[in-house]
Symmetry: C2
Amino acid sequence: MDKRQPSKSDIVQSVDVCIDVLLNVAKNPDIRLTEVAQNLGETKPRILRMLRTLERRGLVRKSDTGTYRLGTTAIILGTAASTQVDLVRIANPILEEVGQKANETTQLRIIDNGESLCIAKFEPMRDLRVQAMIGRRRPLTAGSYKVLLAYLHPQVQLQMIPETLPRLTKRTITDRGKLVAELDKIRRQGFCVSYGEVSEQLVSVSVPVLAFDGSVIAAVNVGAPAFRTQKSDVDRFIVLLKEASSKISARLGW
Amino acid sequence: MDKRQPSKSDIVQSVDVCIDVLLNVAKNPDIRLTEVAQNLGETKPRILRMLRTLERRGLVRKSDTGTYRLGTTAIILGTAASTQVDLVRIANPILEEVGQKANETTQLRIIDNGESLCIAKFEPMRDLRVQAMIGRRRPLTAGSYKVLLAYLHPQVQLQMIPETLPRLTKRTITDRGKLVAELDKIRRQGFCVSYGEVSEQLVSVSVPVLAFDGSVIAAVNVGAPAFRTQKSDVDRFIVLLKEASSKISARLGW
DNA sequence: AAGCGCGTTACGATAGGCGTAACTTGAAAC
DNA sequence: GTTTCAAGTTACGCCTATCGTAACGCGCTT
């Protein structure tokens, strides 16, 4: 009998698994029982019981073909959450304002579990635009989301940088030394611009949202197609984002 | 040893309770452990374990003062859900369109657990407007949400009408007989207008969204302050909502 | 300093929930 | 048409995850 994780006990395993189920359905709409069970390495009866419970409460919905999707209760939870998470509630209108002015997609990203996580976004009404998605994760080491790393304590920073850096495009930095140097530069200049590090043909500009003590709360970001983005646009984005960042900081109480 | 519910077993109780906890936090931001436990009639250790589990997964967040709110994972779930629930995904842009044209608040409501439940909404940019909220429940028997009742089978209908009808304003219908007659009228004319039945000074217009077989899926609704709503406006709303309703029906595949 | 109520921990008892195995159903294979 | 396979489901006895009791620490109020 292995001792599981010695770190923190006192969690309810069945609840933990049910969260896995929920997230699995969220990621894979119209997933089937068997598939969920496989993904999680659990038995079918167990997952069936979980799904049934979740279904009874409207968190998931079973289609007549036997596939599962999230349900209306999940929508309700989510809407409630966006009004309860201060950062998101405050950032949303500001993201929209920046997005309107820049006429490009904006995002709010935080560090979560060693990755950057999009928790709010705005997309302008425009045929061609960068697609953002709440819940999408990206490595911390590529693109302008590096700002999230730049303000961490050097030791924590190194701890978050994996041995081998994932290469997304040919411009992605894959040398740890170079990355650390880049982070240093970012910290000095207060923003980060990335040209095609995450996706080819995409420019991404990020500015950190800092707490009173200088620790990073989040990053605000503008993403745009490279072909229509001049140096002057980038400069404008930086100014907009810096304003937005301090507005958010202020509204959070600093 | 009482046999619990003989109806449907095979649900995981701890998961069921954890959903209660989640919904409780959703309804009462900054709630404390003790309060949740009281609300649910559970012991504190049990709820503590649940909250801890939920916290580890980012579904709730514990503030430094010890109060709980929903967390970022809930936002992610919710956003995913809105793209997965067909009805909501399809209705959203249509609700916006109607809302823009009417320049008033619009809602999409379904029957859930004997009540009407708001699952999508649009509010126009306007200083004074009706406030709508996703997740808010209203009785089926008052206001224009009666349309949701009007198309049910008479027996199911009667089953859903409680003995005593809740009185929200002096205009609320509280007589069962009168209500049934009203429902009949609604079914014949295909829409329902309510003047101050739910809130004084509010006009509400609803049109059913019907499936191919004539069963009710949902209701689309415009809500407006009475003082600025003429008969002609109401007529306009009805036309807009009827268009919207058939557009939604069509897009759902009928 | 005593009292209260909150969050938390410890632990032993128990029934909740687990997995195995078997059954049903429906669709694909041949 | 029969066989085969896999998915979904049910049944049930065992076991451990999870529960509640009781006790503790802590901060605030009286």
